[in-house]
């Protein structure tokens, strides 16, 4: 494929879902049910096309070249495995704003993630959403979302990134609030959008700083600029601040602490939407953004990122321990896993962070779709019993679903193993890499940074515990309600995506060795980019070593040319680590694996002891640790905190200002008017009595004389003319 065709194909992949959106918005209602299948077919084509793109991109080594010059309207550049275009969008005076799309390995893999999950969700939704009055509208929104998400993936500049960032926000708003008759749903949509906007403001300021420094939005041009020593406001700390501001966007979209509060509420949306948006793709956009602009983060910014990720991972894991809503547990687990990814990127474990994104996308989508399957079944069962009060999402109403819904159970079990980090799953591979990365990081930097791996490991343990708690409560034991007992397995359309996604969570798809991902294709395709930040502001262990670059290239070539056996040889041959960090990570690999196995195992064991075998009573534990339980159950009171500070503050201020505007400013205006009126009242009276009196006096005098002179007025024209002429004569004599 020529470079133009690659980009053209990417553009097609991007635009196809938009066409679906437009079609369904205008004609969906008219054609009814088939509109969904049109959307599914469009996504299917999209999936095929993006697979072609991805496979081509991963297997082909593109030579550096440039088509067209920077003054041309369209320029296509291939550099270091990134093929991208630059198109002049706007020009005002000497300011030229360019946009474009780009494709590298990162984007190529992400394309598959987005289109595959979107396709499966579309498929799942055809059954799940059937009977909804706004059926076609739903698929239209899904199309819009997919379009925006793909836009984020293939953007090669901040402007596009921001545009699609906002579009993703709005489509998520529409989908969360899809059942807008429910106040909680429309509230949740609003909350999601507004909280995201706060992050976006930071993102925008970051973009503004970068734009005003480099005069461009292009990633590569900005990185080149930083690389050549240009810094915002000529200061390295401003570069850090720019990085943190950009990361703010990721905080919002990836639901990182302290802006994580929107994601659990977003579960008000239809469950397939949760699977698509709030598990696999949109929330991963923040992680993707950090990965995409990884080259511009300074050491301080990376530390900030790592800390935020760690805090998020830990806090949300603790919250997930006590939640009873099926989807909320999954939501907090998502937040926690996103924290993991962010943390991984923050500590410099670039490849593992992104790897976890991909593996997490599969198994979390599977978890959500499985929960959708459960809820769907519960809902039907409740519906048949004419019970409209029981919450179909509350795990306390479930139990024993293992028997009624065996396929859902098996897939759910498998992906729970994956998220808990049990060997032979993809989750094990990626989580293990991250944990090794945190250990390496802490070892290299020391001090309080050791908290990061400690919290990360404890979060891993909690993840294993609460996931199995959920599994046991929902599927094992006896049915706790009649409805749960009467559930049935769903049909093929719902079950198929579950099976596919759980198969994708096997280790074999990423690496031949179930304990080590770094020899798989993924780790070869995704390599940490060369950091653009000047050495003074960057960890020395993240700098790519000069000779390492060469050996990596050789290594890659040998991998693509030779069998895996020889690759392994090169791998073990020694100095091919791109930097010190990678080496350290490798050393900690074994330790991390053992530790994580131990912790996850104990978490699972504890869950079985408490909930399956009831050796410890859950209720007793709850009573014993009542404050802690409440604290966790009420989500650390973040919602309340924000409500009583930020939200009330802003609303209070707006009330105050509206009142101020109404009373004071307008009051001043009206006061001045009133003063004028009062003074004019007095002046008017003065005028009436005194001045008018004088005038009236004069008028009376005039009237008297008028009465005398009235006799002159004969009414005859000729008299008047005569008088006129006399007047003229008199005037003439008077003048001369």
């Amino acid at each position: 494929m020529s470079p133009e065709n690659i980009l053209l194909l990417s553009a097609v992949v991007l635009v196809l879902p938009l066409l679906g959106f437009v079609f369904n918005i205008f004609f969906g209602k008219r054609i009814g049910k088939p509109s969904a299948w049109i959307a599914v077919i469009i996504l299917g084509i999209d999936l095929v096309l993006s697979s072609i793109l991805c496979i081509y991109k991963l297997t082909t080594d593109l030579a550096n070249q440039t088509i067209g010059s920077s003054a041309d309207t369209l320029q296509i550049i291939i550099k270091d495995g990134l093929i991208h275009s630059k198109l002049i969008w706007l020009s005002v005076g000497d300011v030229v704003i360019k946009i474009g799309i780009g494709l590298d390995n990162l984007a190529a893999i992400m394309l598959i993630v987005v289109t595959l999950i979107s396709f499966l969700v579309h498929l799942f939704s055809t059954e799940y959403m059937s009977g909804d009055p706004r059926y076609s509208r739903y698929f239209a929104y899904l199309g819009l979302f997919t379009f925006s998400m793909l836009g984020i993936v293939i953007a090669n500049n901040f402007l596009f990134m921001y545009i699609f960032w906002e579009l993703v926000g709005i489509s998520s708003y529409l989908l969360i609030g899809f059942w807008y008759e429910k106040k909680s749903a429309s509230d949740a949509g609003k909350k999601a959008f507004l909280v995201n906007r706060i992050g976006d403001l930071g993102f925008l300021i970051g973009i503004l700083i970068l734009y005003s420094t480099f005069g461009t939005f292009m990633f590569d041009e900005i990185f080149d600029g930083i690389g050549s020593g240009i810094l915002p406001f000529a200061s390295g700390s401003m570069l850090t601040i720019a990085g943190i501001c950009v990361f703010c966007g990721a905080i919002g979209k990836s639901a990182q602490w302290p802006l994580h509060v929107w994601l659990p509420d977003a579960m008000e949306g239809p469950t397939p939407v949760s699977a698509l948006i709030h598990a696999a793709t949109m929330v991963a956009a923040g992680v993707y953004l950090v990965a995409r602009v990884f080259a511009m983060f300074t050491a301080d910014a990376l530390t900030f990122i790592a800390v935020i990720g760690t805090i998020t991972a830990f806090i949300s894991a603790t919250i997930a321990l006590t939640q009873v809503d099926f989807k909320r547990v999954l939501a907090y687990s998502t937040v926690s896993q996103l924290g993991y990814m962010i943390m991984a990127l923050g500590v410099g474990s670039y490849t593992n962070g992104f790897f976890h994104l991909v593996t997490h996308a599969w198994f979390k989508a599977a978890l959500f779709l499985a929960s959708g399957s459960v809820i769907h079944a519960m809902h039907h069962s409740l519906h048949k019993m004419h019970d409209h009060h029981t919450d179909p999402q509350d795990v306390r109403n479930m139990g024993g679903l293992r028997k009624t819904m065996p396929i859902t159970y098996l897939t759910f079990l498998f992906v729970t193993l994956a998220i808990a980090g049990v060997p032979f799953t993809s989750g094990f591979l990626s989580k293990d890499g991250i944990l090794a990365g945190t250990l390496a990081y802490a070892n290299l930097t020391g001090g309080w940074h050791w908290l990061i791996p400690i919290l990360a490991f404890s979060a891993a343990g909690m993840t294993a515990f609460y996931m199995f708690r959920l599994l046991i409560l929902a599927f094992h034991g006896q049915p706790k309600t009649e409805a749960a007992a009467k559930t049935h397995e769903n049909n093929f359309v719902i079950v198929f995506p579950l099976i596919l996604l759980s198969i994708l969570s096997l280790w074999i798809f990423y690496s031949p060795d179930p304990t080590n991902a770094s020899i798989g294709w993924f780790h070869r395709a995704i390599v940490q980019p060369k950091t653009a930040v000047p050495e003074d502001y960057q960890w020395d262990f993240l700098l790519i070593e000069e000779n390492a670059g060469e050996s990596i290239k050789e290594h890659n070539q040998s991998v693509s040319n030779h069998s895996e056996h020889s690759a392994e040889q090169v791998h073990h041959a020694g100095h091919h680590y791109i930097n010190k960090f990678a080496e350290e990570e490798h050393h900690f690999h074994g330790t991390a694996m053992m530790l994580s196995l131990l912790i996850a195992g104990s978490g699972i064991l504890l869950a079985f002891l408490i909930y399956q075998f009831k050796i410890f009573s859950a209720d007793n534990l709850e009573k014993q640790f009542k404050p802690l339980h409440t604290f966790s159950f009420r989500k650390w009171y973040f919602d309340e905190l924000y409500h009583y500070t930020a939200v009330s503050g802003i609303i209070g201020l707006s009330k105050l200002l509206a009142w101020f505007d109404n009373l004071i400013i307008d009051g001043l205006v009206n006061l001045s008017a009133a003063i004028t009126r009062v003074s004019s009242y007095f002046i008017g009276h003065f005028d009436n009595i005194v001045i008018d009196g004088i005038v009236n006096l004069l008028a009376n005098i005039t009237g008297f004389f008028g009465g005398v002179l009235r006799k002159v007025q004969t009414g005859q024209v000729q008299t008047y003319i005569a008088l006129l002429i006399i007047g003229i004569i008199a005037l003439i004599y008077f003048i001369f």
């Binding site: 007025q713 004969t714 009414g715 005859q716 024209v717 000729q718 003319i721 005569a722 002429i725």
Partner: protein, 102 residues
């Protein structure tokens, strides 16, 4: 003494006086109008006289033309009014029309 500007002006003045006299004395509205025409003609003579002697040149002629136009319009309307008065009062004696008094 050859005929100069003054001659024409004096002639115009006489004509003007006759016109004024007519306007003031006649009862019949149509005759009043005739007086008015005399006044306008005297004015026109002045214009033309100044056009020749006073350097007013062609502008004087143009002014005269406008006077004539106005006169035509005035007569048309005035006669219409006269007819109207006639229809209302069955006479056209201006001295008896003194509604303006009230």
């Amino acid at each position: 003494m050859s005929i100069g500007l003054t001659h024409y002006l004096v002639l115009a003045a006489i004509l003007f006086s006759f016109g004024i006299f007519g306007i003031l004395t006649r009862k019949n509205a149509v005759l009043v109008l005739m007086g008015l025409e005399l006044v306008l003609n005297s004015a026109n003579i002045n214009f033309i006289a100044f056009a020749k002697f006073g350097g007013l040149n062609i502008q004087g002629h143009v002014a005269a033309i406008f006077v004539i136009i106005l006169a035509a319009a005035e007569v048309a309307v005035a006669l219409a009014i006269v007819l109207n008065i006639y229809q209302n009062y069955r006479h056209i004696n201006v001295d008896e029309i003194d509604k303006l008094k009230e």
